[in-house]
Symmetry: D2
Subunit: 162 residues, 4 copies
C-alpha cells in the first residue's frame, strides 16, 4: 500500500450528461486528495474523469485496448496501448486498489466481477450494474469520502503489519 | 466457422450434485455431436464436463490460471497453463464460439459479460448469473439442441458469405 | 507431466521449402509419438507442421493473434483466437512443455527467450535464432529422438516425486 | 504521438555498478526532457532508472509481474500489478514509444525482440543483447540525444499527417 497503486475508474463511452458531470467531479476530487487514477483511456466517463483530474493537477493513466494511442482521450497523463482489446479490462481491475464505476454496461460489469473476485472494493454511482458485493452511492461527495476512508484504513492495516 | 473453434464451458469449482450431473451430461452430449470444448481446466463443473466429454471420445482443452498443469483436472485432452491467473477468463470468452454456463459466481459472471460484449451467444443452466442477453435453459437436452441449432445456422451464414 | 501439456512448435510464416518439409516431417513424427502440438495457428512452418500432424492423426492447437479464426491455417484440430496480437507468443511459450523452433525471426526469437526464461527446453532446426541455452539440431529425426528422450526423463522424474 | 506514450526502460534486476549508474543517469536525463518512463517496476536497472527519474521530478510507471505491489521498487510514481508474470514483458514493449535496454539477459531479449517486431526503435547500452535492428550506444548522453531526436522527428511526422 506504500507504493502508488491507482484507483480504478470505470464506466461507458456513451454516458448521460449527469454521468459525465459526476465523472468530472469525481476525477477532480480523487486527484485533489492525491490519488492516481487508472482507466480505460477512451471517451465518455473515462474522458470526463481524466479532464477533471487534469484540472486538479492529478495523474491519470489509460490502459487502451488498441495497439497505439491514436484514439486515446486527450486528457491522459500517460497512455498505455495494450493491444489486448477488451481483455485489458482484466488488467484495469487487477492493477487498481479499488474500483469506482459510474454507469456502465457489459464492459463495466466484467470489470466489477473481476475486481470483486480479486477482493477489491467496488464503489458504484448513477446506474452502474448491480452486483452483490459492490457498494452503491447516490452522490460523488459521499463516494469520495468513502473511498478515502477505505484507503486510510487499508494503509493503517498495512502499516500495522510491517 | 470452418475452423474448429471450441464451445466454451464455464462454471464454478464448488458445484451442487445437480450441477455436476448436468455438466457430465452436457460434456457427453457436446462431444457426441463433435464439438470441441474449452474450459478453465479446474475442478467442479469444469472437471465434470471434461469427464463427460472424455467418455464420448471428445476433445476438451483447459486454459489454466497457473504456470503449470499440476492442478489441472485429470480429464483434459490438452492442458494449457497460461500463468495469467483469473485474467485467463477473458481468453476463454474470446476463443469460444459461444459460452455455456452451469451455475457460477463472479468468475462465471465476468466470462458471461465479456462473451456478450464480443457478441457471443451465452446459454445458461441451473443458477448461472442472470445477465441481459444470456439465454436461460431448464435442462441439458434443450440447451444442447439450441446450441447445435445455433451452430448450424452460424455455419450456413458463414458458408453463404464465402 | 501426467496431464497433456503440448509441445510448442514455433517458426515463421515465410519459410523456405526445406523448412516447410522439415515442419511437415516434424509434425508427423511428433503426432506419431502421441504428442499434442501447440503453435501460432498461422501459415508457413505452423501450417506445415499442422498438416503433418493431421496426417498422423494428431492434435494441433493454434493460439491465433486475431479475434476470430478466419485466418487460421486449415489443418488445426482446435483454433483458439486470443485477440492478443503478438502478445500471444508469450502464451505459446508459457503453455508448452518444451519449444521446437524451425527457422524464424523476431517472433520466434521472442518465444525462445521467454521459453528459456521459464526453464523450458528449446530445440532448434534450420536457421532458428541462436540463443544461449537452446539446442541446435541438424535433422528432424535426431531432434524428435531428443525431444522424446527429454519427455520420458521428465515424466520419470515427475513420477518419482509423486 | 500527441498523447503521452512512455519510453520503455528495460534491463536486469542483477546489474553491475556501471549499469546501475547509467540507469540512474538515464532516468534523470529522460525525465529532465519531459519523457514519461515505463519499466518492469522491480529492482536493479529498473529501480536505478526510477530513482534517477524521481530526482528529476519525472513520472515512472512500473508494470509488475505480481498480483500486488509489495515487491515494487520504492521510486515508482505509479505501480501497476498485472498478475501476468513475465508475460507482462510483452505489454512493456507494446505500450512504449521506443525501448532503451541497459544490459540484460533473456527477459530483456524477449522485450527487444517483441519491440522490434512492432517496429519500435530499440536503443541499447552496456552489454544489452545484440539483436539485428537494435542500435548500440556507448554512453548515456549520446543515447538520450538520439532518443530525443527520434521523438522530435516522429512527432513532426505525426503532426504533418494530421
Amino acid at each position: 500500500m506504500r507504493h502508488a497503486m491507482p484507483v480504478g475508474l470505470i464506466g461507458p463511452r456513451e454516458a448521460t450528461p449527469e454521468q459525465l458531470q459526476a465523472a468530472r467531479n469525481l476525477g477532480y476530487a480523487l486527484a485533489g486528495t492525491g490519488m492516481t487514477i487508472l482507466c480505460g483511456g477512451k471517451g465518455g466517463v473515462m474522458e470526463a474523469a481524466a479532464f477533471g483530474a487534469k484540472r486538479a493537477g492529478g495523474i491519470v493513466i489509460g490502459l487502451l485496448p488498441e495497439d497505439d494511442a491514436n484514439e486515446a482521450n486527450p486528457f491522459l497523463t500517460v497512455a498505455l496501448p495494450t493491444g489486448l482489446g477488451i481483455t485489458r479490462n482484466a488488467l484495469i481491475a487487477r492493477a487498481s486498489l479499488c474500483l469506482i464505476a459510474i454507469g456502465g454496461g457489459l464492459g463495466t460489469l466484467s470489470e466489477m466481477a473481476l475486481g470483486l473476485q480479486w477482493n477489491k472494493p467496488v464503489f458504484t454511482l448513477l446506474g452502474a450494474p448491480l452486483v452483490r458485493g459492490a457498494e452503491v452511492f447516490d452522490d460523488v461527495d459521499t463516494l469520495v469520502a468513502s473511498v478515502a476512508n477505505w484507503l486510510v484504513t487499508a494503509r493503517q492495516t498495512q502499516t500495522a503489519k510491517e
